[in-house]
Amino acid sequence: MHVIVVGAGEVGSYVAHRLSREGHDIALVDLDTDRLLDMGGELDVLTVTGSGTHPSTLELAGVDRSELMVAVTSDDEVNLVASLIAKQRGVERSIVRIEAPELRGKEAAKLLKVFGADLVIDPDQETAHEILELLEYPGASEVAVMAHGEVIVIGVRLSEQAPLVGRSLSEVAAEHEPDWEFLVGSITRGDQTIIPRGDHRLLADDLVRVVCERRARNRVSKLLGLSRGMPHRVLLLGGGRTAEILARSLAHRGVEVVMVERNPARARQLAEVLNDALVLEGEITDAKLLEEADISRFDVVAALTGEDDANILACLYAKSGGAGETIAVVHRLALLSLLGEAGVDVVLSPRTATANGVLRFVRGDVAAVATFLLGETEVLELEIGPESWADDTLVSELGLPKDVLIGAVVRDGKARIARGRSRLRGRDHVVAFAMPGSVDEVSRLFG
């Protein structure tokens, strides 16, 4: 499929990367020539310099043979116009990034239809949503909610004290017979990610992704060495849109929220719109300010500015100052592997949350997709089609590739952890762990 991606920023380049790796033909459009040169060197994509609002630029990008337009610049108007031109030139589907709240919701639906936007994405909101999910599982590095909340995938780096450490998966499974409430779906050790089998032994510092039923999430959290429940006090460093959305949601849940923003006008604006949050004006790396805010009393400190250095530095200071969990949003992932060791508990990027939405849309037959910053595993939620040969078949008889694992089956809204003896039915939802190379095969299997 030929795909045009307008905007080679963090989100656009990541989407281009993911789609090109799946074999799609990508044209990346941006005004910044230097950035495109970098991208062209890194990715197997066609780069076109120019505005996404110019038909001539889009023609160069191959709009006439394109099937999908992904307009993800940080400018809503540019995205909408690019989508409009693409639709006029016969592009079937269009994904548009929209940040303005006025252009979202029911009122704006008609307008978006005029511009041909089939899917609206908002990286800030997706990131805020992702952090909210993480906050419900303090200590977890990743959380993905599938099947309308019936299945939860929790990624956690095992500490030495975690009950699972030092045991093989078959030993753990034997202990939880006859009804498993969770399943280890993937293990990331160092740079390598695997779909584990029964003889794999869990070690300290492994990043494990566990799929569990909703009703068992408390027990599983305990087993993974996590505490449960929303934090009481959260410090948000940075006052961007992500922080604002997050602060609003947290305050709504009764969490005490303190924000730090360096721009006086923006700080004032935040203080005006957020009734229940305290806004401090200052630099997030100002040690005196953080000290005055009494950083040790916060259960979670989340650094959400657009500057990676400041976010990381502030998290390190917060950790050394006695704060609970630290979450840093980072945009450059070169140092990702070092951050955990340095004291940043959770690292997030706006790109993953956004990419999940795009991938789900592109694949079409997938109900949900979760990708992660570390490791290449994907978690897919697929519906077994009525004509699928998986209908009325045991999981053990599916003949799945080695790098695919069925984690859970959801039937009539009720989730069960999948076993070899589980029999699948049409319209069941299946939550599967898969490496990127097997995604198509899995989709075909259940489609």
Binding site: V260, A271, N275, L278, V279, L280, E281, E292
Partner: protein
């Protein structure tokens, strides 16, 4: 015809003396006030017929003269386009001073009062809706009673029009004073003309309702009329020297209810009129107003002075709305009760009322202002936003509020000191200053709960006039009008010098023109 009207509005018409018509908001306000006062005087005279015909005739005559002068004068002035904040602020102060002079002149001209200082005090008390009097109430005629209440009614109307129609319209976009939510204000006052009409209708309708309710409670028509005018305007004038102590529970209950509404102000009336009474409960100002009423009533009832709930509520409402009616000599109550009443008097009524005081809204915002500053001290980095009715207020509004409050407290403090120097005790001076600036009137010791000024020295009376004026006229207007008078002399001198220079130049030019010119060819 249309052309002539347009010319008149544009000031193209001329006086009989050949002078052009004057475009001045101050003169427009003044001529309109003279007309209204004239009509009130005529009305007083007509009501007074059959009681003291001499007074009735005098007031009718004075009223006719004032009305004619007012109407004639109004035709000679027009509203210039786009009043400036400076002209309105200055004009307000001048207007109030002129009205006091005019009403005092009526008192003197009709022979009701013979001493100038007493006439000025009585006029100021009436127009500023302050319930103090230098008149021997039992001895005065019906016409005087109605005129006195009428002046307070006119003063109340003028105060409301100035404070919620004129000033916000003029200051719109620069420093809109906080009344309620901006939307609610715009709903009542979308523009000058409509706002003025609505305010007059609400105020007039409420006055009529008060008069009818008093009649229904058993008061005589004159008593109902005087008390109705005094209640709606929060003037507090009564036909009895003992105020409501002379009446039974029926009139007292009517007065209590009417004073609560009068103290709550026009936004409450407008909300009820528009069928949005439930929305009003969201108003933080209204809730605080009721909280003050309830809190002070509880203190009075439990204060050990043997006061029933009805009496306590009447007293509290009378003071909170700055009306000044009384059923008891409350100034001799225990210190807790008198202290609570002092705070109530200092806070005063809601902002859209004809009453006075620092106002409930400003008191609330002052508390918020204090909290903000305290928070800033404790946490210098905190961005603290003060809200009113869920809407954030900008720092400029709060700074203005701070400035106003400092000016208000300075006036009260200086007034208290000067009153103490003019023969009052310090507590009485403080109370009298607070009471006068809040346009309440009654105060312990010298003035008493019934507002008689017999025991007050002449200098103290004149000081009270200044304080009443400071409480009624926006302080900014008072200072600006003083500044205007001072500047007037300087600017008059400058204009005269400019005029003489122009004349000299003109004469010189004429001389040059008359001189024979020499042609180039000789």
């Amino acid at each position: 015809m249309r052309r002539r009207t347009a010319d008149r509005e544009a000031g193209a018409g001329v006086w009989p003396l050949g002078l052009p018509r004057t475009g001045s908001w101050t003169l427009v306000g003044l001529t309109e006030a003279v007309s209204v006062l004239g009509l009130v005087a005529v009305f007083s005279g007509l009501v007074g017929l059959g009681d003291d015909n001499g007074d009735a005739l005098a007031f009718t005559t004075a009223g006719v003269v004032l009305t004619l002068v007012g109407f004639r004068g109004r035709r000679r002035v027009f509203r210039p386009p786009g009043p400036t904040p400076h002209s309105v602020i200055t004009g307000t102060g001048i207007l109030w001073g002129a009205m006091i002079g005019l009403v005092a002149s009526v008192y003197l001209a009709t022979g009701t009062i013979v001493r100038l200082d007493n006439a000025v005090v009585e006029a100021a008390a009436g127009l500023t809706t302050t319930a103090v009097t230098a008149l021997p109430v039992p001895e005065v005629s019906r016409a005087v009673l109605v005129w006195r209440a009428g002046t307070s009614w006119v003063g109340g109307l003028a105060a409301i029009v100035v404070s919620i129609v004129v000033l916000p319209q003029v200051l719109r976009g620069t420093a809109l004073p906080v009344f309620a939510t901006r939307e609610r204000w715009l709903e009542l006052v979308p523009n000058y003309a409509t706002g003025q009409r609505r305010v007059a209708a609400l105020y007039g309708g409420f006055t009529l309702a008060c008069i009818l309710a008093y009649l229904g409670s058993g008061l005589s028509p004159t008593d109902a009329l005087v008390h109705g005018l005094s209640t709606a305007s929060t003037g507090g004038f009564s036909t009895n020297p003992d105020s409501f102590a002379a009446y039974g529970t029926g009139p007292r209950a009517v007065a209590t209810g009417a004073m609560i509404v009068a103290g709550a102000g026009l936004f409450l009336m407008w909300g009820v009129f528009r069928g949005r009474a439930r929305c009003l409960w969201r108003s933080q100002e209204l809730r605080l107003y009721f909280a003050i009423l309830v809190g002070a009533t509880v203190i009075l009832v439990t204060g050990g002075d043997g006061l029933g709930i009805a009496d306590a509520l009447f007293t509290v409402v009378s003071i909170a709305s700055t009306t000044g009616f009384a059923t008891r000599e409350w100034t001799t109550f225990g210190s807790a009760a008198v202290g609570a009443l002092l705070v109530t008097a200092g806070v005063g009524s809601m902002l859209s009322s004809a009453g006075g005081g620092i106002r409930v809204l400003r008191a609330r915002l002052l508390m918020a202002y204090g909290r903000r500053e305290l928070r800033r001290q404790l946490d210098p980095h905190a961005v603290v936003v003060t809200r009113h009715d869920d809407q954030p207020l900008d720092d400029r509004t709060l700074d203005q509020l701070g400035g106003f409050s400092v000016a208000h407290l300075t006036v009260v403090g200086c007034g208290a000191l000067l009153l103490a120097g003019a023969g009052m005790s310090v507590p009485s001076g403080v109370w009298s200053a607070v009471s006068a600036v809040s346009t309440l009137g009654p105060a312990p010791e010298a003035v008493g709960a019934f507002g008689h000024l017999e025991g007050v020295t002449r200098p103290a009376r004149l000081l009270l006039v200044v304080l009443m004026l400071a409480g009624r006229v926006p302080i900014l207007s008072l200072l600006a009008s003083i500044g205007f008078v001072l500047r007037f002399n300087r600017s008059t001198g400058r204009r005269a010098r400019r005029l003489s220079r122009s004349l000299r130049r003109m004469l010189q030019q004429r001389r040059l023109d008359r001189e024979p010119r020499i042609s180039p060819d000789g």
